[in-house]
């Protein structure tokens, strides 16, 4: 069902970090957890749409750069005020050292 899009190379993201990815005018945030797993979410915070790629990854959370709203990037769950709406997540698969995200 999903359309798989190559987002970046595995090595483009440091462990416990996030990078931006744009496809078809849509922004995504692609994460690498401290354990080395990859995840993808919508690129903007659900509060005031700040780009999450400028935020801080700590363990499984991404903290928004503007008002420090926090999400669990592995599930998209919003941690509470100021962020009340969960973040959309996308499936991820790794093939030949490339991170692919499933959209649509």
């Amino acid at each position: 069902m999903s359309e798989w899009i190559a987002a970046c190379a595995v090595d483009d993201i440091d462990p416990e970090d996030v990078i931006p990815f744009r496809h078809d005018g849509v922004d995504y945030a692609v994460y690498r957890s401290p354990q080395g797993e990859f995840f993808a979410t919508a690129g903007h915070c659900t509060h005031e749409r700040m780009p999450l790629c400028d935020g801080l990854v700590m363990d499984n959370t991404i903290e928004c750069p503007k008002h420090n709203g926090r999400f669990d990037y592995t599930t998209g769950k919003a941690a509470g005020a100021p962020v009340l709406v969960d973040l959309r997540t996308f499936p991820v698969k790794i093939e030949d050292g490339t991170v692919h995200i499933g959209i649509g």
């Binding site: 416990e16 700040m50 780009p51 400028d54 935020g55 801080l56 903290e63 750069p65 503007k66 008002h67 420090n68 509470g80 005020a81 100021p82």
Partner: protein
Amino acid sequence: MGTVPGMVVVGGGECGARAAFALREAGWNGPLTLVGAEAVPPYERPPLSKSMMTGPHASAPATICDAEMLRNGGIDFIAGTTATDIDRDNHEVVLAHGRRIAYRRLLVATGATARPLPIPGAAADGVRYLRSHSDALALRDRLRPGARIGVIGGGFIGLELAASATLRGCAVTVVELAPRLMSRGTTPQIAAVVAARHERAGVDVRCGTGVARLERRDGATLLGLTTGETLLCDTVVAGIGAVPETALAHKAGLAVDNGVRVDTRLTTSDPDVFAAGDCCSWPHPLYGGRRIRLESWRNARDQGGAAARNMLGADEPFATVPWFWSDQYDLTLHIAGLPDAATTEVVRRRHDGVEIRFGLGPDGRLLTASAIGTESAAARDIRLAELLIARRATPHPTTLADPTVSLKALLRQEPH
């Protein structure tokens, strides 16, 4: 009134609203009342000088919580009503209409008001201020293309307004008494970047210049400057700081000291009355117990949350690192910690051109960090610096200056 005394919050701003919700989050099930002098539900003030001014249309306030959220939270919100007295002997708050609300614990979150221009006749001469949504609406209307706008005060609010007015096509002059912009709160280098950005946008920035007199002339206002020059303005806005709103606390006999005086638990001189946000001053544990008062959005939120938990007995000291941001044009300025506490500056020049300015104390402790960049470019490093400051880190200046060593790596080396 026959009801059991509950938790009462006076002041429906950022801090009061957050506190009300935090009381519920922390498990308070009893009566909960939020009293606000403004007629509208709690709203965000930061957009007032930014998107509210530059947006294509006059807009409603950016609400923090609407009527439904307040209802769902079981918060009895009494809008458009000033609390006039605290009857501490009877544990009751007295409202303007004479109604009394019994409290078990009370939070004073009355915020601040714009500092009035200390020039005789300034009010009569049409000087405007920017603190509330209604101030913003009135001002917005006057930012027509070509309008001559005089901004008195080169602090954050004045400069944000100058940027917004310029983006709306106004001819803006900023008059600042100090030798540089934002002298309270930023380093000279960052102030210089901001000044250059304003000048590039066409703003006439005049530092070291005060306003000696004001005069109405043909529907405009003539500013007589301390340099002897005069300036004719269609609209004059004063952004010369804010004064804490302490009238209620003062009348109730609570200690006031550059704001309602509270301890590290945000308790006033009365153990059942707390204060938080722009209205209070407290001894900051990270800065040797120095008594400070902040006018900062995040501080208001965080203190509201901490005060709520302490009202329920958490006994939590408030030691959150001060943090502030300001948006002007495409630039965002971030400041963590207290810039004036530092004695040594260390600069990290990142490969993307962003400079992070750290300030260390005489003992080598990191006390502050600030940066300016486009949008949120500097946000993450400032956030990491904030975490380092909170842990009382003493990073080596050479490492701190080295952009190849990530601040996160430095943080990992710190004991918790």
